[in-house]
């Protein structure tokens, strides 16, 4: 925490505490190249129950990759109303304009354009519509389009995250938008919940619950809320991870001794044991091509990251050097993996390149655990701690931009970033 405070002192700190927000968000640092962009509140935005402009600017600001140019005094909504010199003077390179209106059927319809101020051309234009209670979703979609056009990478503002909120002895499994809003409780109880894992299509969560006084793996539909027990053998059943095609999960069972990795179909059939070590083998994570599992094992005497082919082949140790390592997850492009690195009493978010074997630390250390990539590979979500509370945090994959998200009460734990919608 002290480390964090000094970083806050050194770097730009933007505090965005929004009225009625479930989370409050602090942004630390800035991208190397920030694109100056002006977002003009859409015509009709002030008549909506929820401002789209606020969602779009919030998203872009949190990414750390944009500098928002103040549009005050100018409010074009159509290209014909745009005077480019006005925006060149203000230093904007891009300009977003548009209109929004509620349709008679209750749907909200938005037409927006992104303009290149320097070349004086239209970069993209699109109509985005949604039902009246999905206004934030429209904002995220527009922010994604702007992000994609100006950075070349796909945006993740429309994605969701899952995490566990702990208040005293009450545990809630939460699914929320990537900015923490729109939270839904998937499960609430007085026993711990651990290790939520998204199915690749975002329709189901697998997780570990202690509601029957020991660790059992469940799979629950986010649409119907129906759930089934995936694994309930004696001892502990845990660490679910979906294969990229959604046709099987890797899980960890202690039914045959110490924690070992098994594959199982989502309906609970076809179980097959993968590791045979007698050590603790846990936290399996599939490679994007489905061929390998990364996992944590203490077979060498301390916890390190290993890799095993799903079919057949030798297991390989991936991490060496000082400290211990936990919770590996592949990057979406499969070229690297993130993990929690424990050294000298501090947990760091670390990343390692498969080809070079080089490890780099993305954070300054503290209680930083369970990192997971956003589906575009540009951001990493992890559990951290600030002001004596468990919080959600993100760091850009280049380590430059950090973000802290505070839940309203209690501790946020076990976060995981969901897939593209």
């Amino acid at each position: 925490m002290r480390v964090l405070q000094s970083i806050v002192g050194l770097l730009l700190l933007v505090q965005a505490s929004m009225a009625g927000a479930v989370l409050s968000i602090e942004i630390i640092g800035a991208g190397e190249h920030q694109v100056p962009v002006a977002i003009v509140p859409f015509g009709g935005d002030d008549k909506l129950a929820q401002s789209i402009n606020e969602v779009v600017t919030g998203d872009l600001q949190r990414s750390g990759l944009f500098r928002l140019v103040d549009p005050t005094g100018k409010s074009p909504h159509e290209p014909s109303e745009v005077s480019y010199p006005d925006w060149q003077v203000r230093g904007a390179e891009a300009l977003a304009i548009g209109t929004v209106a509620a349709q008679p059927n209750g749907r909200i319809e938005t037409r927006f354009r992104l303009l290149d101020v320097v070349k004086q051309t239209e970069l993209t234009g699109q109509a985005v519509s949604a039902s009246g209670n999905q206004i934030r979703a429209i904002g995220h979609r527009i922010a994604d389009l702007i992000y994609e056009k100006l950075t070349g990478d796909k945006g993740v503002f429309s994605t969701r995250i899952a995490y566990v909120n702990r208040v005293g002895k009450n545990f809630r499994l939460i699914v929320a938008d990537s900015d923490g809003y729109n939270e839904q409780t998937v499960l609430a109880q007085n026993e711990p919940i651990m290790s939520p894992a998204w199915s690749p299509d975002g329709s189901h969560l697998a997780y570990v619950s202690f509601e029957t006084k020991h660790a059992v793996v469940y799979v629950q539909s986010l649409y119907t809320n129906q759930r089934m027990v995936l694994a309930d053998f004696r001892g502990s059943n845990s660490a679910p991870a979906w294969s990229p095609d959604g046709k099987q999960l890797a899980i960890v069972l202690t039914r045959d001794g110490s924690s070992q990795i098994y594959l199982i179909r989502p309906d609970g059939s076809g179980m097959r044991r993968i590791t045979f070590s007698g050590a603790i083998d846990t936290e399996p994570n599939f490679s994007p091509d489905g061929q390998y599992l990364l996992f944590t094992s203490d077979r060498g005497g301390s916890a390190q990251i290993y890799r095993v082919p799903v079919d057949v082949g030798p297991e390989q140790r991936m991490t060496f050097g000082e400290g211990t390592n936990f919770s590996p997850r592949h990057s979406p492009d499969g070229k690297s993996f993130v993990f929690a690195h424990l050294n000298n009493g501090g947990f760091y978010v670390a990343m390692q390149d498969f080809q070079t074997g080089q490890m780099s630390l993305l954070t300054e250390g503290g209680w930083e655990k369970k990192p997971s990539f956003a589906p575009n590979g540009k951001l990493i979500l992890f559990a951290s701690e600030a002001r004596d509370r468990g919080i959600l945090a993100t760091v850009s994959s280049d380590g430059r931009v950090k973000q802290h998200m505070f839940t309203q009460s209690g501790d946020a734990r076990e976060p995981v970033w969901g897939p593209y919608p």
Binding site: P192, T254, G345
Partner: protein, 167 residues
């Protein structure tokens, strides 16, 4: 020797009370130590379950571990052996072994480590004569800490296996 162990357990419990938030304090063995007041008549000969005798070694219900270690420590072996003997003599009693860890590790790794701690006690109880159907080992990993500060005074209370008898 027995007394020494009991006092160590008590010191542990006292240390726990001193340094942690009150709500997290584990239910200490109820100190209803007072023998029935000596009445005129000789004391009734209802057999006392030694499990409920606060002066018995069986009053100790936790084993403790160094960091990232899961084998039962020498200091705790007499305790585990006494429980094994008790279970062998009381085949209708069942006990849950609940492994716990400090927070230095991932939740999942600690779930595995806690399970190994519980399984270690389980094995020692079985060797000492307890039957498999009297024993169940589970793990809470780092999810149910007795003490929530980030320091060793706290962590050493969290690295433990609890012997939790069914009522």
């Amino acid at each position: 020797m027995k007394k020494l162990i009991i006092s160590i357990v008590l010191v542990n419990l006292l240390a726990a009370c001193a340094s942690e938030k009150p709500k997290e304090v584990a239910p200490a063995p109820a100190p209803k130590a007072e023998a029935p007041k000596p009445a005129a008549a000789p004391a009734p000969k209802a057999e006392v379950d030694p499990l409920n005798d606060p002066n018995s070694i069986l009053a100790g219900r936790s084993t403790y571990y160094p960091f990232d270690v899961s084998v039962v420590q020498e200091a705790d072996k007499p305790l585990v052996q006494a429980h094994a003997k008790y279970l062998a003599e009381h085949p209708n009693r069942k006990v849950r072994l609940e492994g716990n860890c400090d927070e230095r590790g991932s939740n999942e790794y600690n779930l595995g480590l806690g399970q190994r701690r519980a399984d270690g006690v389980n094995k020692m109880l079985a060797l000492g004569g307890a039957k498999a159907d009297q024993l169940e080992s589970v793990s809470y990993g780092e999810e149910k800490p007795r003490c929530t500060d980030h320091n060793e005074a706290c962590w050493k209370q969290n690295r433990r296996t609890d012997l939790n008898y069914a009522k």
